[in-house]
């Protein structure tokens, strides 16, 4: 049986952002932009969406008079990502997705 995939994470860019943030302590906007190869506008929109869902925390400040945006995954985001990967595995290997490994 296929379990529903989290629509928030079932977008290439949002999934890429969360995958990066799960691997690091925290990352700046420019780092995420560089790794995902997204445009600034699109990245901003997707980060806001993830923040609204409570999957990431965004801290805005200034460094050398330039805006500085730092992103960090939340425990809720970690759980959502783990569940998403588990459900995703079910599509590729249905036995794994049903809890039997």
């Amino acid at each position: 049986m296929f379990r529903e995939l989290d629509p928030v994470l079932h977008s290439q860019l949002r999934l890429a952002i969360v995958s990066i943030l799960i691997s690091v302590q925290e990352a700046e906007f420019t780092f995420l932009k560089e790794k995902t190869k997204a445009t600034s506008g699109n990245l901003s929109v997707q980060l806001d969406k993830l923040k609204t869902e409570g999957y990431i925390d965004i801290t805005k400040s200034f460094r050398n008079n330039y805006p500085l945006t730092v992103c960090k995954i939340t425990p809720r985001g970690i759980n959502a990502f783990a569940t998403y990967v588990e459900h995703l595995k079910g599509y590729i290997n249905p036995a794994a997705g049903n809890g039997s490994v």
């Binding site: 079932h10 999934l15 995958s19 691997s23 700046e28 420019t30 790794k35 590729i92």
Partner: protein, 189 residues
């Protein structure tokens, strides 16, 4: 549909793989402390052999200089870094623990008039072996492991010759791996 899901899994793997390999260049810290300790030990050894009674003064000069270079250098680096990885965080904790341990060993063993240097060499081994493992830098792991052998040998050597072993330990665990780490980052830029 399945193809799309496979693409998503591949994307996750790719992003995690990319980010996991990231950590910030801290080679200047290894080189600063490596060279400072190496020069201080060799100079003190020469001064002892020359019969100079102020032979310990070189440490009082070089160690604060190294500390200032590290603090200022780190503050400047952090201004340009875009990411803080789990490796960076773990390294910070490890070196804080090693630094505090070094301080305790140096202070109390000196007060009790014991030679702290064999323990200092062993602690260098702990810090560099773990850091080398985290960064997947085999020369640093090997340098760290060599510190344990050198530290053990230092218990059987006369006090002034322990200074030579200390210099050897930092060459193997700080200076050589520090330059390798530096060149690794230069290649990636």
């Amino acid at each position: 549909m399945e193809n799309n899901e496979q693409q998503h899994l591949a994307l996750i793997a790719e992003m995690i793989h990319t980010a996991r390999k990231e950590y910030n260049d801290r080679s200047f810290i290894y080189l600063t402390w490596g060279w400072s300790v190496c020069i201080a030990s060799l100079v003190q050894f020469i001064l002892i052999k020359m019969g100079n009674s102020y032979n310990g003064l070189v440490w009082a000069i070089l160690m604060p200089v190294a500390a200032v270079v590290q603090i200022v250098g780190l503050a400047l680096k952090k201004k340009t870094e875009k990411v803080c990885t789990h490796i960076d965080r773990a390294s910070g904790y490890i070196w804080t623990a090693v630094g505090i341990s070094l301080g305790i060993v140096l202070f109390f063993m000196s007060v009790r008039q014991m030679n702290p240097l064999p323990i200092v060499i062993i602690l260098y081994g702990v810090g560099t072996y773990i850091s080398g493992g985290l960064m997947d830098l085999t020369p640093m792991k090997a340098g760290g492991a060599s510190c344990w052998v050198i530290g053990a040998a230092a218990f059987y050597v006369n006090n002034e010759y322990v200074l030579l072993l200390l210099a050897l330990s930092v060459i193997l665990s700080y200076i050589i791996p520090g330059y390798i780490l530096k060149s690794r980052f230069k290649k990636n830029v």
